[in-house]
Symmetry: C2
Subunit: 322 residues, 2 copies
Amino acid sequence: MEVQTTAKKIVKASEGKLSEVYFVACGGSLVDMYVSDYFIKAESKKLTSGWYTANEFVHVPPARLGKTSVVILCSHSGSTPETVEAAKVAHKAGAQTVGLTYNKKAALLPESDYSFVYEWGNEREVRNNPMAIMLDLTVSIVHELEGYGHYDVFRKGMDIIDTVVGNAEDEVLPRTKEFAERYKDEPMFYVLASGASYGHAYGFAICSLMEMQWLDAAPIHSGEFFHGPFEVTDKDTPFIMAMGLGRTRDLDERALKFLGKYAEKVEVVDAKELGLDLIDDSVSEYFNPILFYSVLSKYRFALSQVHDHDLDARRYMGKVEY
Amino acid sequence: MEVQTTAKKIVKASEGKLSEVYFVACGGSLVDMYVSDYFIKAESKKLTSGWYTANEFVHVPPARLGKTSVVILCSHSGSTPETVEAAKVAHKAGAQTVGLTYNKKAALLPESDYSFVYEWGNEREVRNNPMAIMLDLTVSIVHELEGYGHYDVFRKGMDIIDTVVGNAEDEVLPRTKEFAERYKDEPMFYVLASGASYGHAYGFAICSLMEMQWLDAAPIHSGEFFHGPFEVTDKDTPFIMAMGLGRTRDLDERALKFLGKYAEKVEVVDAKELGLDLIDDSVSEYFNPILFYSVLSKYRFALSQVHDHDLDARRYMGKVEY
């Protein structure tokens, strides 16, 4: 489905009264929604939003969920039971639903008023990944409903994000190998980020390290770092810092300055240095996570290579009952 | 200040048009706000809410922040610069502000339209702790604005929470010593919870373990556990499970069932078994975090004893520049 047309249809079907957008998924798909939820909170005066792991949404749906809500759901396989159930809960409450999946026969699709069956695997076309589709849809909904002042530069950003990410992936490749060599014996990593990027600190921890490599990990918000977490800092603790562009960069810089003094194992992945500043300042922060996902996937791959650990290997997921 | 009177004043000052409540703080104070934010999302049809680490709120204030918003801020010392700055940002946008602190001379107070200088140290009076004050204020605001169907039983819960928590603390004491003895050599813990309690999984990780004991830790939402994190499970990985009462208990039970099969180091802290079911089912989930804070503090203390680690010892906070 075409994103901008869908945005228009959603706003029209609500008779212009759209009031909430809920983002509902599990794990990696939920991670991909973080930036869209963040965008609404930061930019919309008419809409509110919520970001829910699907089973919590099913058990405790938001009180406001109803006819003027839209619920965006994503499941790569399309059959995540909690996400399919959440779509049913949303429908029952009278909300519009948008479903994203890779699977044309997904159980999520019959529960979706609008759907996007995305492509997957071409690392050079991030624009067609669910994260970019959902962000584009969200920004387009806000623009359709109330006007978004930076919509034109946002569109220009979308037009060049594939190129920006491709260049960044090439640039970072040698570094990922050095990273993997240096950190190959580490059992645990902290991942820092802020603003629109925080979702990917969480995502790199739970998906790329815990799920795919069985390594211990924890995300830390750069703004929270100084209010507890930083006391674990020492020369032996590894930190990965996703330095974003935009309004919360100050928070990342402050954390990095501290780490520069008291830590010795710090890997910095800097969106600015990797060329995201080709996108206009007014919107670049919303593209941080798209860049970080792709670039951090290269780090993930390099680490898996030194461990000779297949990133698709699971010991529980899809293998045992739970 | 008296909670219910304050709720009435806030609603009245907004001319009944109150539309958002933002919860803004850092670290442990932010943790204490999680349940209030959760309550609004779960129960209010008229209000929306947001939960912000203060420096992110300062750098990217929500677009909706304005005259019909109330911003609740908390700083134990009363001088956390990011929180004081957030209060200024809120005021500048025309929002009402509520400040909570332990310090009568707090820099936060002149920026607070309403303030609560709470007491601290009497572990048997949790009702006067900031978490309970903020929850009571939030529930009272919702009730004042639109009516909350379970307000009477909520009030009864508040009346007995001190007793419930006191009993639970006594009951759990021997177990905390066994826990500390068993886990004294562990360098890292995962802390699981869901629903209203998730804030305290985060809080136990960042405050009680990372900040106070320099131990590695990570919170996991019980609902997210099966979508990535559970792949780290093995017989050597320690998990602390805060089993709550209420609508998301299913999520905790599912995670616990899995851990029962594949993990061997699992400490269960069960609100039901510890007597929280004395509070009516319709509201007990909102009291989970009040119980968990007090009970988990006993676990924290026992662990610090076996390590001979002073819980007030810091290596960076308040000692170096950052």
